[in-house]
Amino acid sequence: MAVTSSPAIAGRPGLVSLVFQRKSLLIGLVVLGAITVFAVLAPLIAPYAPNRLSVVNRLQPPSGRWWFGTDEFGRDIFSRTIYAGQLSLLVGAAATLLAAAIGITLGLVAGFFRKADGIVARIIDAMMAFPDILLAISLVAALGPSLATVIVALGIVYAPRLARIVRASTLIIRELPYIEAARALGVPTWRIMLRHVLRNLVSPILVQATFIFAYAMLAEASLSFLGVGVSPEVPTWGTMIAAGRQYVGSADWMTLFPGIAIVLAVLSLQLVGDGLRDLLDPRLRKDL
């Protein structure tokens, strides 16, 4: 590695062709898109209602009639899996949005105002000291388990990650000459924060948010699996695996398909995140 690569020499090719050049990003987007389409169009696609019981048909292995088999209540796993996608994606997305809202605000304030920084940075550090699942569990325990509290808890859990990145980037950007130029022009601080700082943070935030989305989905699954998250009769991939746990070894399809769904969703999100990082800001590659 003797010669460092030089900044982009050629003009920028279009975004679409850039996406297509990155195989993994493309794969990620396609898979994620497919999952989203399945989830959103679940009512149209699902051959059965997700909660329709049919006890006579319980624990049927995958077949032409039940593509993914049935569960212990005779519910169609395929239908449930795609319906569960709705909620799993919803939890992930909502938690990510919440984390972004909290994290960006905190990070910007901390990065921009020295006085606030002392406290905010320390809160961020302290929050990061709690392992994510553990903090989420405790918050859910304190707030009472429900879909909403899981979202809130995960939002709170992941907010510091964004806050930290936003803060760190803000601290760097704040010192850049173009900020100084704006200050020299007399541009008001709030405008500098939005137009100059936040705008330059879009890429790292987007990248990080993608990963948080993935982690939040995993975390939701873990919480549900442990029985401290979403109520078990609400179909999410986590609750489905938790239910299927009793049948591992006898009806493996109950855990297999929702498991694959999680892996695919999380993997595609990570591929997208990684691809976005490459695409938007190669310098970010270092922080994960």
């Binding site: 550090d125 302290a126 707030l143 995993l218 699996f225 695996i241 892996v263």
Partner: protein, 313 residues
């Protein structure tokens, strides 16, 4: 150097303090009267009042907070409602499996991640790199409980190579107890190796581009030496942080894994405590684990003193 140590130490104390405050707040956000929640519906009004008094809940919030701090300073984490024992002892009883689980997971993770990460960075863009990067991402996408279930099926049930659950009986030898840890540690190790692999790779990529690596090559040094001595040692510094933090965060994975493998560790305790609404245990576990994380962070900072001469003054 002393200055660095003191600064880090004070920083650690400050974060600890914040951690304590956050834990205090979390338990207080529980809707309703914590004492009533803790005691459960069986409790009589008198019981609740007694507990309120015992926990100091009848005092103004700030006094409660001070009382809480005072208790902590005396090393008192309170009393478990369900287990009828001090939270600290309950945690101590469960420390061993969690400790070894974390230790082995991190060893397994590092043993996978470091060589793979280094090689992937060195052969950037090669088939090996692509496969390794993809596998790492895949590993990071697998829910650890799911992997654990699969492992139990395959290695414990089908092949009977390892015990399915628990941590051995009362007189289980250390070896037996270790045998209980192999599957959970492998599960966690694989899942957490993903992060370390990717980080090692990224860190190595950075370092391989550094000028001193070029200097080393210009000395006529062999590639292996260049990579291991000059590049890796430098790349190790950020990787060390990640390994340390992963170790601390593994407790999180341990929550899930310990439940899947019925390991009587801290994570398992927390989950049971949540199900049993044993708030003092949740609070205590949160505190201890976060404190551990902060402490590990501090230790890593101190390790820098050894590894990186730049921070020595």
């Amino acid at each position: 150097m002393t200055r660095y140590v003191i600064r880090r130490f004070l920083g650690m104390i400050a974060v600890m303090f914040t951690v304590v405050t956050i834990v205090f707040v979390i338990v207080r956000v529980a809707p309703g009267d914590p004492a009533a929640v803790m005691l459960g519906p069986d409790a009589t009004a008198a019981d609740i009042a007694t507990l309120r008094e015992k926990l100091g809940l009848d005092r103004p919030l700030i006094l409660q907070y001070l009382y809480f701090l005072g208790q902590l300073l005396r090393g008192d984490l309170g009393q478990s409602i369900f287990l009828n024992m001090p939270v600290l002892s309950a945690l101590a009883e469960r420390a061993e499996p969690t400790f070894f689980l974390t230790l082995f997971s991190i060893l397994i993770a590092s043993a996978i991640a470091l060589p793979v990460g280094i090689l992937a960075a060195y052969k950037r863009g090669s088939l090996f790199d692509q496969v390794a990067t993809t596998l790492a991402m895949l590993a990071a996408s697998i829910p650890s409980f799911w992997l654990g279930l699969i492992f139990i099926q395959v290695f414990a049930v089908r092949f009977s190579w390892f015990p399915v659950s628990g941590y051995g009986g009362p007189d289980a030898s250390f070896i037996v107890r270790l045998s209980h840890l192999i599957l959970p540690a492998t599960t966690l190790g694989i899942v957490s190796s993903a992060l370390i692999t990717r980080f090692t790779r990224a860190s190595m990529l950075d370092v391989l581009n550094d000028d001193y690596v070029r200097t080393a090559r210009s000395k006529g040094m062999g590639e292996f030496q260049v990579v291991m001595k000059h590049a890796f040692k430098n790349a190790l510094i950020p990787v060390l942080t990640v390994i340390g933090l992963t170790a601390a965060l593994l407790v999180s994975g341990a929550v899930v894994t310990e439940t899947v493998f019925s390991l009587p560790g801290v994570g398992n305790l927390v989950v049971s405590a949540v199900l049993r609404r044993d708030y003092p245990v949740i609070q205590g576990a949160l505190l201890v684990i976060a404190a551990l994380y902060v402490l590990i962070n501090f230790v890593i900072d101190m390790l820098y003193l050894v590894v990186d001469p730049r921070v020595r003054y």
